[in-house]
């Protein structure tokens, strides 16, 4: 088992690979920058580009107690072929489900490019023993999940036990094997951008392939400023180590216009190299149909009623 170096309480990141200083975040200026990027006016072909990219980057999500194989199968079909009347619309990146539903999801997406992501590690609270969490991760990976969305232990983080948070991520990463690991920070519980930045660096240092804002289970999930804060941390890691880490804002992104704003922010913070589902995902459950509606409007010049878009 991977053993992380013991960290002093004052939070020192491991020296190898070299990582950026933790630094701090100015909330006012961060929010201003995010707001100014959100004002970009994206029209015509640039808009179609963004909307299609948003579809390809989407993690179509259902995380409910009432989820069933039937529901997941329907969601998977939608993921593969989002708009039955337009074959030109690409598939989404992945569907994101609870562990129990991974087999049903896999059965449905087999032979397509759509991946299956499973939440794990006692999602959404993360308040379980590490053995339980690792067991869950190993199980979903054995079932065949391509991606694992874990939550960090916010209790440990907020009480200053960063080493525990770090060790857990390292162990989960090892349990993931080939599967991609997305680390959910649950920013709404972290309280400050400084904490978000610190948790982002911590997660990346511990081996995250992606960092992700939220579980979607709390109000105040993904926002433009918090996502910008995480993108800047990703940029610093890239500058220092050359590692390209992915980003996934999740929760609260419901409109096509928001999706375009997120992509503009990505484009102007990390550049075109990050404009790929390999490095950016939008976690959403109700965004897809609005994007489809906007895409059809760009093609036909008219808005169509929601009745023309399937609700799966």
């Amino acid at each position: 088992m991977a053993q992380a170096p013991v960290l002093p309480r004052g939070f020192e990141l491991p020296l190898e690979p070299r990582l950026p200083r933790v630094g701090s975040v100015d909330a006012v200026a961060l929010e201003e920058r995010a707001a100014s990027l959100a004002k970009r006016s994206i029209k015509r072909e640039a808009k179609v580009f963004a909307l299609e990219l948003a579809v390809r980057m989407m993690d179509l999500t259902t995380l409910e107690g009432q989820d069933t194989s039937g529901k997941v199968a329907a969601l998977a079909s939608k993921a593969i072929r989002p708009d039955p009347s337009d074959a030109g619309i690409p598939s989404v990146a992945a569907i994101c489900v609870y562990p129990n539903l991974v087999p049903s999801a896999l059965a449905r997406v087999e032979g397509t490019n759509v991946k299956v992501a499973s939440v794990a590690t006692a999602f959404p609270s993360g308040q379980s023993p590490i053995e339980t969490k690792l067991e869950e991760v190993r199980w979903v990976v054995e079932q065949g999940a391509d991606e694992v969305d874990m939550v960090i232990d916010r209790g440990a983080f907020l009480s200053g036990r960063y080493a525990k948070v770090y060790d857990e991520i390292v162990q989960v990463k090892e349990a993931c094997g080939e599967a991609h690991l997305k680390v959910i920070l649950e920013v709404a519980e972290l309280g400050t951008y400084d904490n978000v930045r610190r948790a982002s660096l911590l997660a990346m240092a511990a081996g995250a392939d992606f960092i992700k804002t939220s579980t979607g289970k709390l109000p105040g999930a993904a926002t433009l400023p918090v996502t910008l804060c995480m993108l800047e941390a990703i940029r610093d890691v890239y500058e220092e180590t050359g590692r390209m880490i992915g980003m996934k804002p999740a929760g609260g992104i419901r409109q096509a216009k928001q999706a375009v704003q997120y992509l503009v922010q990505l484009h102007e913070t990390l550049g075109v190299d990050w404009l790929t589902p390999d490095l950016y995902r939008l976690g959403a459950s109700s965004l897809l149909n609005d994007v489809l509606m906007q895409l059809r409007k760009e093609k036909t010049g008219a808005y169509q009623s929601p009745d023309y878009f399937t609700v799966d």
Binding site: G23, S24, V25, D26, V28, A29, L30, E32, R33, K39, R40, S41, I42, K43, R44, E45, A46, K47, F49, A50, L53, R56, G111, N113, K115, G144, D146, E178, H180, E232, E239, H267, E268, V272, D273, L275, T276, P277, D278
Partner: protein, 496 residues
């Protein structure tokens, strides 16, 4: 396809994402072919005219009057008449009503003004829309509130209006500077003759229509246009009681010489060479945004621009790297495009001055960085520029460039930062970037600048006084302080 193959299947990355043009519609602005002077509530037919253009395209926009000394005198006489026969005598609350009206009309017509401001001045529409117009309206709202509270602003000092104010404004924020000048003058009970800058008269001339809508009594605000000769005539006019000037230090000195011994009141808001000081504990990404906003905002045509960057040596490399990277994302081009970050240089003359200083910087040995950038063929443009390896003695570290050109210097300790920041003939503004509150206060006490921003830059508010030390001028605009230059105080005569 097996699982493993699926995982290896990397998606191709696009080469670029070019934003489609997003121009703001021009048709909200209706321009006259020819403008006269606005004197005594009517348009005075000019004897001489010149052409005003759009600096982004060099396209002619309108014929503008060049005021003769006689025409300036006519405007001053109209202002004098309005002052003595009405304006100074009406209840202060009535004056406030006019100012409130002007503020509301500016808000209502803000899109029209924003487009005109970008068209005539070359500044990006997002700045005229989000900065110039809201702030101009806010200034009128703010001083409207003071109009009937002067006795409370200056208790026991019996404030009285000065009389006729001659106001000469620059081309970098034409409408906003108009608001900075006119709002406090009217609130204090004065009348005004305003001369906008030669290259950017159109928003002031459209403002005359706002005055008509607001039913401001004739002669309270008069607008004469033209080059420096018109300004000189206004300064010399015997009918003027106060001169307020914003512009270059050179002209400011000439005005001060001219007014010496005349008893006319004077305020000057002149050049600057502000230091933007970044400490190693600053929030770096936000500090870089602040640096960019400090010097590239309005193409660097800002008297308080953060044109000297002082970086603590321990973070010099990451800051310069981040800054260069950020520069590559600046969008330079059509001022009316909503996605433009940096617009056109205001005039050919200014462009020549920037070029000359940049050349001197290269010759003196500074290292130049300019991001790859396609500039339009027509019009006046300059690529956002950073100089590194700059010594304090270089001209680019001493002289005001008034363009999108940043000089980067380093320091080691807070004492050295203060010493370098203050080592300039100017003293208009400064910026301090640190997460340490005590250091902000320590620095602010020692920086000799009228405004010290902490963890922000180029932030304006009507309630906050603005003005300079040393060759940056004297007098304050904004806030309660901004009323003072437009008032006489009678407490001394009345005695205890």
């Amino acid at each position: 396809m097996t699982d493993l193959e699926r995982k290896r299947d990397r998606t191709p990355v696009p080469k670029e994402w070019a934003y489609a043009p997003a121009p703001e519609a021009r048709d909200v602005v209706r321009l006259e072919e020819r403008y006269g002077h606005y004197v005594g509530g009517t348009w005075l037919e000019p004897s001489e005219t010149y052409t005003t253009i759009s600096p982004a395209t060099e396209e002619p926009l309108a014929e503008i009057a060049q005021a003769t000394p006689e025409e300036v005198e006519a405007a001053v006489a109209a202002a004098r008449d309005a002052f003595e026969n009405g304006w100074s005598g009406i209840p202060a609350a009535e004056r406030a009503k006019y100012l409130f009206r002007i503020a509301r009309i500016l808000q209502e017509r803000s899109r029209e003004f924003a487009v005109l401001e970008s068209l005539n001045g070359g500044k990006p529409i997002k700045e005229s829309r989000d900065v110039d117009l809201p702030l101009a309206a806010a200034h009128f709202f703010y001083y409207a509130g003071w109009a009937d509270k002067l006795e409370y602003a200056f208790p026991n000092r019996r404030p009285r209006p000065v009389g006729v104010a001659g106001q000469i404004i620059p081309w970098n924020f034409p409408l906003l500077m108009l608001a900075w000048k006119i709002a406090p003058a009217l609130a204090a009970g004065n009348t005004v003759v305003l001369k906008p800058a030669e290259t950017t008269p159109l928003s002031a001339l459209l403002f005359a229509d706002v005055l008509r809508q607001a039913e401001l009594p004739p002669g309270v605000v008069n607008i004469v246009t033209g080059d420096g000769r018109a300004g000189a005539a206004l300064v010399k006019s015997d009918g003027v009681d106060k001169i307020a000037f914003t512009g270059s230090t050179e002209v400011g000195k000439a005005i001060q010489r001219e007014l010496a011994g005349t008893g006319k009141k004077l305020t000057l808001e002149l050049g600057g060479k502000a230091a933007n000081i970044i400490f190693d504990d600053a929030a770096l990404d936000q500090a870089v945004e602040g640096i960019v906003n400090g010097i590239y905002f309005n193409q660097g045509h800002v008297c308080c621009a953060g044109s000297r960057l002082l970086v603590q040596e321990s973070i010099y490399e990451p800051v310069v790297e981040k800054l260069k990277r950020r520069l590559t994302t600046l969008r330079v081009g059509d001022p009316l495009d909503k996605n433009t970050d940096v617009g056109a240089i205001n005039s050919k003359q200014q462009l020549d001055k920037i070029r000359e200083l940049v050349e001197s910087g290269e010759q003196e040995g500074a290292e130049i960085y300019q991001p790859p950038c396609r500039l339009p063929e027509q019009g006046y443009w300059f690529v956002p520029t950073v100089f590194t390896n700059v010594a304090q003695s270089y001209r680019i570290a001493q002289e005001e460039i008034f363009g999108p050109v940043l000089s980067v210097l380093t320091f080691r300790t807070p004492d050295e930062a203060v010493e370098k920041a203050n080592n300039t003939p100017y003293g208009l503004s400064a910026g301090v970037w640190t997460e340490k509150g005590s250091r902000i206060l320590w620095m602010a006490e020692r920086l000799r600048a009228g405004v010290v921003w902490a963890n922000t830059f180029n932030r304006f508010d009507p309630s906050s006084p603005f003005g300079g030390y040393k060759e940056s001028g004297f007098g304050r605009e904004g806030g309660r302080h901004g009323l003072e230059p437009y008032l006489h105080f009678e407490s001394a005569e009345v005695g205890g």
